[in-house]
């Protein structure tokens, strides 16, 4: 069999952003573009995955070699780029390599941020969309489900997604480890800086209570507070705000620490020693480092958080090696499955024989049937087709259910002998395609 899975695509590793932003399969609403791809000659099934870092087409083609070429041209045409340019920046994978690629993408081993969790959701969405557009047949459906399964295994069996790899996210994770559920906690933002805002933004999703913002310039505080839906307070109310806040993010441009050990001690007393997580993003420091020694106060500065992140990244690299092994295992399993699909000649012959009988019997009765009008004739055709399909159903499922390859040959032989199929097998090539189309429709 020459049919197989192929992947054509480009990602952050192979193509610069100005190429990537051109190849995005725009307007692929309800899989309309995927259908266009599927209509390329030789392409039997297709799915398009397009995220900000990658765009790729996964297809089952027959025959693979020539279809891939047409596929590349079609992709170039759809996105309005030069095929030569596209070819330069894209990768083309077939067979086990293609399968491995799909599994790695779903498991986030091919992502820019290794192990990031979003990609699996994006792949699942693409799968849903193209399933609804019915461009996915049994092979790709199986492929994608195995990809989801592999991703799940990677997530459960390795620590790849365990650790936060951005400073803001690491801060949120840490806040959860200190304060538990963040919903009822309050956040105080001191000063404005890019990093502080980013961290605050991450926290907003977790926190129900309004965020407090203070700044030397009250107007700036008001602006930020508006943006976050929080409230602005004046700098002289800082110690009251500290009494309320559970998470403090500080990033002012002050030359001297604005929060001192003695301040925090008295604040802790008035907040009845409820724990407080302080993040000092400013350079030079806004919060005296010794504050970390106070019971119930956890102070992290930007270097601490960065150290956490880089350690986590290293951990992910190690875990990725384990993940690759899992992917390899799954690729082998999938490739074995595709081999079991090779029961077709017998089935083709069986269908062929039954169809021949049907056509012959109708032809015999042609004289008597001449009075039928077109509608009646159509009904007759439908009934006779239904009958032969029903007859074929049991032997076919008998063949398909056979798992071991030795058994399969024996069973195929039995079916051939029972239905006396010798001379029918491998007769016509196009029948095979018909059968496969039907198989897809049934699934």
């Amino acid at each position: 069999m020459t049919s197989g899975v192929a992947v054509i695509g480009l990602n952050h590793k192979t193509a610069p952003v100005d190429i990537r932003e051109k190849v995005t399969f725009p307007a692929n609403v309800e899989g309309s573009i995927t259908r266009t791809i599927q209509s390329v000659p030789g392409v039997l099934e297709a799915i398009i995955i397009s995220t900000c870092n990658r765009s790729e087409v996964i297809a089952r083609c027959d025959p693979v070699e020539s279809a891939v070429h047409d596929l590349l041209n079609a992709v170039a045409h759809i996105n309005g780029v030069d095929p030569v340019l596209l070819k330069k920046y894209s990768y083309i994978k077939t067979g086990a390599d293609a399968v491995r690629h799909v599994f790695r993408v779903a498991s986030s081993l091919d992502s820019m941020v290794l192990g990031e969790p979003q990609i699996l959701g994006q792949v699942k969405d693409s799968f849903k969309r193209d399933s609804a557009a019915s461009t996915i047949g049994p092979t790709l459906s199986r492929l994608m489900h195995r990809a989801f399964f592999t991703a799940k295994r990677v997530r459960n069996e390795t620590g790849i997604g365990l650790a936060a790899v951005s400073v803001a996210y690491a801060a949120v994770e840490l806040a959860k480890k200190i304060l538990g559920d963040l919903q009822e906690k309050s956040v105080l933002l001191i000063g404005a800086g890019e990093m502080a805002e980013l961290t605050a933004r991450h926290l907003i999703g977790q926190v129900m209570r309004p965020i407090c913002v203070t700044n030397r310039t009250f107007e700036n505080a008001c602006r930020l507070a508006d943006e976050f839906g929080g409230e602005a307070i004046r700098v002289n109310q800082l110690s009251e705000a500290l009494t309320q806040a559970d998470i403090v993010i500080s990033s002012t441009g002050a030359c001297e620490p604005i929060i001192r050990v003695t301040d925090v001690r008295s604040v802790m007393k008035s907040r009845k020693y409820r724990p407080m997580f302080m993040i000092d993003i400013a350079v030079p420091r806004d919060i005296e480092p010794n504050v970390n020694d106070i019971d119930g106060v956890y102070l992290y500065n930007i270097d601490d958080l960065q150290a956490v992140v880089s350690e986590n990244l290293g951990e992910r690299m190690n875990e990725a090696l384990k993940a690759e092994e899992i992917v390899n295992e799954e690729v082998v399993k999938f490739m074995n499955w595709t081999k079991t699909l090779d029961f077709s000649p017998t089935i083709v012959a069986l269908r062929d024989k039954l169809e021949t009988i049907r056509a012959r019997e109708i032809a015999k009765m042609n004289g008597k049937l001449s009075r039928l009008d077109d509608n009646q004739r159509e009904v007759l055709e439908a009934i006779t087709r239904a009958i032969i399909n029903k007859i074929a159903h049991d032997p076919i499922s008998f063949l398909k259910k056979t798992k071991s390859s030795n058994r399969r040959e024996v069973n195929a032989d039995i079916v051939q002998r029972v239905f006396n199929l010798h001379g029918f097998s491998n007769q016509r090539d196009d029948v095979e395609e018909n059968f496969e189309d039907e198989a897809e429709n049934r699934n």
Binding site: G159, L162, A163, K176, K177, G180, K272, Y273, G296, Y298
Partner: protein, 281 residues
């Protein structure tokens, strides 16, 4: 038959302990299915063992140290597995199964299945009331102490900024503190009712409520320790590390009262020389 259940429970707890231990040493994944499932299987065997002994002796199997420690271990495992179910931190399971296995082995060494029919004074409804209340209180204190340990460990990791895998597997500080906070009044209540029921039982059996037997003295000391803890926590608002240390100290006292006193001194609750049998006869 019950010994088969008992032995397989101990074996499964040990399997679970080992797999949790290896899991904590390892580097991958957040879950330890082997440890969890063997702990659950052990818990089922353990429950069967207790049930079987109930029918076997015709009465609540709580009269011997073997049975009492087994019931204590059963309560601890059950409670910790419940916590693991709620918080998903494998540390609960990892702490529970070794503790339970040790308690059961200690119980088995002290008195392995006493076949004699239990003495009349123990054949009283006060037995299940008094013992189960006391054991329930103790197991709540055990949970608090383990949470206290985890709190101190987790707090240290966060303060030292060593946020490795252990940090991620441990529950959050807040969760641990909440368990301690909620456990304290519950455990204290159970202990109080346990002591009172013991006194009432003594009153109905022997005519005197309180005889300053070593166990009684020590449980009163323990009661005062926990009363102080309730005061510090609820009135003075102690929390976090201080509360965690208190929970650990308290539990050391509990274990001394529970096992140490029974082994070292003679009295109503002595393990070596079951005075209860004599005083009952």
């Amino acid at each position: 038959m019950d010994l088969i259940f008992f032995k397989s429970a101990v074996a499964l707890y040990l399997v679970s302990s080992v797999s949790f231990f290896l899991f904590l040493l390892g580097s991958s994944s957040l879950k330890c299915p082997t440890g969890l499932w063997s702990a659950l299987a052990g818990f089922v065997c353990h429950s069967l063992s207790i049930l079987h002994r109930t029918f076997f002796s015709g009465f609540f199997p709580l009269a011997t140290p073997f049975d009492a420690l087994s019931a204590f271990a059963w309560l601890i495992t059950g409670m910790f597995l419940l916590m693991q179910y709620r918080d998903a931190s494998p540390f609960f399971g990892a702490m529970a199964t070794p503790i339970s296995a040790v308690l059961m082995i200690v119980g088995a060494t002290l008195s392995f299945q006493i076949k004699e029919p239990i003495v009349p004074v123990l054949h009283s409804w006060w037995l299940p009331i008094h013992v189960s209340l006391a054991l329930a209180g103790n197991s709540v204190f055990a949970l608090m102490a383990v949470c206290g340990l985890m709190y101190i460990f987790q707090e240290r990791l966060i303060k030292k900024k060593r946020l490795g895998r252990i940090h991620k597997l441990l529950p959050s500080l807040e969760t641990l503190d909440i368990i301690n906070r909620r456990g304290l009044p519950i455990g204290f209540f159970l202990m109080t009712v346990g002591i009172v029921s013991g006194a009432l039982w003594a009153g109905s059996a022997w005519g005197f409520y309180w005889s300053w037997d070593p166990k009684e003295t020590w449980s009163l000391i323990t009661w005062f320790a926990y009363a102080a803890m309730v005061h510090q926590r609820l009135v003075l608002g102690w929390r976090g590390k201080k509360a965690a240390i208190m929970a650990i100290m308290g539990f050391i006292l509990v274990m001394f009262t529970f096992i140490g006193v029974s082994v070292l001194f003679t009295g109503h609750h002595s393990f070596r020389n079951p005075v209860l049998r004599m005083s009952g006869s």
